[in-house]
Symmetry: none
Subunit: 142 residues, 4 copies
């Protein structure tokens, strides 16, 4: 149950997670975070906005990035230090979002890696762009 | 149901949201995002980590910042453009977290504001620090 | 709040529970169990599979059998000993599933009953077949 | 996003998934399945039973087996054909359960594998035992 140590990570390594965003995802996320902005949970309001309907929380997409970091690359034992996010386009209910991370820089001395982090919809549009700074799990001493 | 326009916002304005992090918050967040990292859902694993027990997802804290932005300052109608996050300390189950934003810069020409965004625990420790770039709702034409 | 004792149960007794499978049922089930198989939560993937779209978890149907056993026949106080399951056909979102149990054998000496357990969709197709071994609640001593 | 084909599977291969069972897991599972047996959701009733408190649904444990089959061994694209379950011991709230599968038999002609499937608690006690019959994903033709 331990992720990749820095010696097992190469620039260019990638990992991803994909989910179709359900109405229940948005509603549960709204309930847990308290972000009950009408853009997310009020269809009567939302259909008169620029987006013509309810949209998902941008920060939910950021959660999928965290899923890839914590589960796959580097995986369990990683320490999440920094994340920069640019919200580029809305995500609608029933969009299918792929969170994708790619290793861009490795600093073995400080045990740090920098990841490009993107969320992409079913039409290959980047909806969230950014980068993350992660400390991968250290090798267990024996 | 519309938030503050830029003319109603002043440098130094603040808003916040506070929640005690329940086990169900962490479990629902894990289920919605797919982040089933054992640090969050496996107490047997977690009690042997540096943190001595399960911790909440850092990105859940970022969700609380989004709650303040989308609900209070500036509120509904805002466009969330950018967020920078530094995860400084772990959040344990039953910690009480306050997400707090403060207006730092206002650019009326571009209709942009920059917020300092922090999450602080019950011991006044900053667990997440960062800043956000937001476009407040525009005045409705009549 | 106690179910039927073995003396009140006859071979041929039946009970059932019916639910239309919502997207939120499948998503909550995925979140609770951690079964984020793309067949269940990724429509872009699922529409290219043999089933042409997302399907429910087969083991969710088994949960409905447990509902009938624990709530109706025999009901509260039963001890669930064994369950055999054959997954015969996929269940799609919005299918209406009836879990149905029928008493097949009764062993009063050992306080055991054997049930035929089936889940049937809205087209009368058996999607899950199997049998269960249950110990009904014992009579309370007074 | 495809699991192991039969040619990549060996007798003795293992995979597992672990989760601490939260109250919210049991309550969400109860809500989705409709299994509102008081043993699961009524502490006043449950504290007077043999188990001295609320217990989790046995079939929730079976869901964790499905998680390992569908996510890891063999993984996405598998067809779940049969599952036998023996419920050997109760699972209490806050127990940490590991669902573990091990390949016992491989039939390459029929593209079938048989798995031993067990759920084990934090005290190494087997709470659910059984076996599964799975058809792994077939090699994609090109």
């Amino acid at each position: 149950m331990s992720g990749k140590t820095i010696s097992a990570i190469r620039v260019g390594d990638q990992a991803q997670f994909t989910k179709t965003i359900s109405e229940s995802d948005v509603y549960l996320y709204a309930g847990v975070t308290g972000d009950l902005n009408p853009a997310h949970i009020n269809e009567e309001y939302a259909k008169n906005t620029f987006f013509k309907g309810r949209i998902a929380h941008g920060m939910l997409m950021a959660g999928f990035i965290s899923t890839v970091v914590g589960m796959k690359l580097p995986g369990p034992g990683s320490i999440y230090l920094e994340q920069q996010l640019k919200f580029l386009a809305p995500v609608r209910l029933q969009d299918t979002i792929t969170a994708r991370v790619e290793v861009k820089e490795i600093d073995t001395t400080k045990n740090l890696i920098q990841l490009e982090t993107q969320c992409i919809n079913q039409d290959k549009k980047i909806v969230v762009d950014g980068k993350a700074l992660i400390s991968p799990p250290k090798k267990k001493r024996t």
